[in-house]
């Protein structure tokens, strides 16, 4: 049986788990193609106009998949951690899709609500396996392998790699170290992010993303805000920012956000205000379906140059 996974949204955050689990269960796993202009256009066609780009892309990837698989996996992410939920668009994703994509009959909706952490994840996997009449043993094995592969994936990040982009390691002696903060489905989709991370690396920058910081350190920052944000991915971003503010181990921060993104107006402004306080250079890059290469390149170059000059001055002053 062929199960399709749209290469969008949560895919980028959890794909090693998903792919391994379904493969080991004995499914034929088909991931939609890498984002292209065509997929983007399909998405724009079906999604409502004021949706943000990542949501439009999800629509596009579903269109890319739906006629060549038996089921298209559409997760409804409700909770992964006890302290936060997801952007309302994640919560309403299957409802949106069933109304806006014509003739979408093979949606496989999976509600992910892991209030109690691991245990719930295990139960969810078992329930899923049972639905497709897979044996407990097989399911258990698949679950373990999936966890393992996810662990391996997070480990690669901690080593300075960025596996979704195929980056294994980075040069440690780069002159400039920059944090690129944003949601995984923005940063790791090279089409959407206009290959921003690789561009920076080619400019000789060492790039840090939220996944590359240790979970423990991020969690420590949780108390910095008066009120926890409601959204898991946003918390990742903002906590990473606070980590970096505090340790001052990067030269600047680039926040990558989607045009019209709901949660980000809060996230971005909070970070901007505090970046000023900590004297951390800060740049916001807003992406939409029309953002051009040219403009982005100039802005990145200007930002990196500015940092280089600043650093040189500082070093000269110290010498």
């Amino acid at each position: 049986m062929k199960i399709g996974i749209p290469r969008a949204l949560a895919y980028y955050a959890y794909y090693p788990f998903l792919e391994t689990f379904f493969e080991k269960l004995g499914f034929d796993v088909v991931v939609s193609d890498k984002t292209t202009k065509e997929i983007m256009d399909l998405g724009i066609e079906d999604a409502i106009t004021d949706a943000c780009v990542p949501i439009k892309l999800f629509h596009g990837h579903v269109r890319n998949l739906k006629d060549r698989v038996d089921y298209v996996l559409v997760p409804r992410l409700v909770k992964i951690k006890h302290d936060a939920t997801f952007c309302p668009k994640f919560l309403g994703l299957p409802d949106m899709l069933s109304c806006s994509i014509p003739q979408f009959k093979n949606m496989l909706e999976v509600r992910v609500d892991l209030k109690r952490g691991r245990l719930d994840l295990f139960m969810l996997c078992m329930k899923f396996a049972k639905k497709f009449k897979k044996s407990f043993f097989k399911a258990y094995n698949a679950y373990l392998k999936a966890l393992l592969s996810f662990k391996n994936y997070t480990h690669q990040f901690l080593q300075g790699g960025i596996p979704p982009l195929g980056i294994v390691g980075q040069k440690k002696n780069s002159p400039i170290c920059l944090a690129v903060l944003g949601y995984p489905y923005m940063l790791y989709d090279p089409y959407l992010s206009l290959d921003l991370i690789k561009k920076l690396i080619n400019m000789g920058v060492y790039v840090v993303t939220p996944e590359m910081l240790r979970e423990k350190d991020k969690q420590k920052q949780a108390s910095k805000l008066k009120k926890t944000l409601f959204w898991t991915f946003s918390n990742e971003v903002i906590r990473s920012a606070y980590c970096l503010f505090e340790n001052q181990n990067v030269d600047g921060i680039i926040h990558v956000t989607a045009f019209g993104c709901g949660p980000d107006f809060i996230v971005d402004k909070l970070m901007e205000i505090d970046a000023k306080k900590y004297e951390m250079p800060y740049l916001t890059i807003t992406l939409d379906e029309q953002t051009g290469q040219e403009g982005l390149n100039t802005r990145l170059e200007a930002f990196v140059d500015m940092l280089k000059i600043k650093k040189a001055k500082k070093e000269a002053a110290m010498a």
């Binding site: 409502i48 939920t85 309302p88 309403g92 409802d95 009120k227 409601f230 993104c261 809060i266 205000i273």
Partner: protein
């Protein structure tokens, strides 16, 4: 003495002012949002902030300039942004150099202790239990009456013979209610309100009925929705809004305390289309549309602030819902650039469409009756 202020939303400032004054605070009554308010809001809020955020931020700046030193607002637990408004607004305003205390009243369900502590900060007079009860009862009655007067105005406006009668009457009612001194006054005023509306000269016909759903702030604050209800009423349409503040307070404060889900009906109706609660009022919008359909309405108008997340989700579901129930559907996204004239044109076209639809349905009915008689 604290100088307290709060966001402006419809006529709710009347009971709020009463309540806060009775507790021994000086109140800076927020002005009705104007272009100036909105321009402050758009200047200091992030570009993609939702419209209500901008208006409220603008209002805060105005009241702080007028000398307020304490801002009171309601919180929320998400998942939508409204619950985080105050965190960010406080940061922005302090960054601008204002000094004040922000008091956020969270719904009682989860943070009852905090709520009580916060309310204590606002109580500066020694009051007996009896005083509390009488103040509370008075403010609540005022709120309920204000909602009632507004509801009646929606009902009467399409029927009025002389344009503007209803609006006049409504204004008078608000004044009366605001001027009441004692609880017994309010009882009398209630009767008077009914009489005043009765006195309006009315036509006798069956107006087009439109239900309005959407995000709470733009529903409740007429200056943010360009007085859409008045406009529709003047086009001869009966409008009904899915939400009033008094009901909303019950479902969010009282029910929350006892962990009862409010708005049961609307949620049940939305269930087949909208399986998850996703914050804001997206699900209520869908559910209420179904309820309106069941009551024989002709169309639905959805009001959503630009970039409002839950309403975007609702927006992709509503067309299907309305089609299945034979309702006309119009969605209006509001921000500082929405113009009144453009809106009026769209409304006129929408009303024409509904009228044509109704005619068609009627002639169909007549025809089928005719066929039956022939047979």
């Amino acid at each position: 003495m604290r100088k307290v202020s709060f966001p402006y939303m419809g006529t709710s400032y009347i009971p709020f002012e009463r309540l806060l004054t009775a507790f021994g605070n000086e109140v800076v009554v927020p002005p009705r949002p104007t272009e100036e308010t909105i321009s402050y809001g758009t200047k200091y809020a992030p570009e993609f902030a939702c419209y209500p955020f901008k208006i409220v931020l603008g209002t805060y700046i105005q009241v702080l300039e007028a000398g307020a030193d304490t801002l009171v607002s309601s919180g929320g637990v998400g998942p939508c942004r409204a619950g985080l408004y105050t965190t960010l607004q406080e940061k922005i305003l302090k960054d601008l150099g204002y000094e004040f205390e922000m008091i956020t009243l969270e719904p009682p369900g989860r943070h009852l202790r905090d709520l009580i502590d916060n309310i204590k900060k606002l109580i500066n007079d020694r009051l007996s239990l009896k005083d509390y009860i009488s103040i509370g009862r008075f403010a609540w009655k005022q709120l309920v009456l204000l909602d009632k007067a507004e509801r009646l105005s929606h009902k009467m406006r399409p029927l009025e013979v002389k344009r503007g009668d209803t609006t006049q009457t409504y204004k008078k009612c608000v004044e009366l209610i605001a001027g009441a001194k004692k609880y017994s006054d309010l009882r009398e005023i209630e009767r008077e309100v009914e009489l005043l509306y009765d006195a309006i000269e009315k036509k006798d016909y069956d107006p087009i009925k439109i239900g309005i759903v959407g995000e709470i702030y733009v529903l409740l604050e007429p200056s943010s929705n360009l007085e859409i209800e008045e406009m529709l009423g003047e086009l001869g349409v009966y409008v009904e809004r899915s939400m009033f503040l008094s009901e909303y307070t019950i479902s969010n404060a009282v029910m929350d305390l006892f962990h009862i889900a409010g708005d049961r009906d609307a949620k049940k109706m939305a269930a087949p289309y909208f399986k998850e609660m996703c914050g804001g009022h997206g699900r209520e919008s869908v559910g209420n549309s179904v309820l309106f359909a069941k009551r024989g309405f002709d169309g639905i108008i959805q009001l959503s602030p630009f970039t409002c997340i839950p309403e975007i989700v609702a927006k992709s579901i509503l067309p299907k819902v309305c089609k299945e129930h034979g309702l006309g559907f119009l969605t209006i996204s509001l921000d500082e650039q929405t113009g009144k004239e453009g809106l009026r044109t769209r409304l006129e076209a929408f009303v024409d469409l509904l009228m044509a639809k109704r005619k068609k349905a009627e002639s169909f009915r007549v025809k089928s009756q005719y066929v039956k008689e022939m047979a």
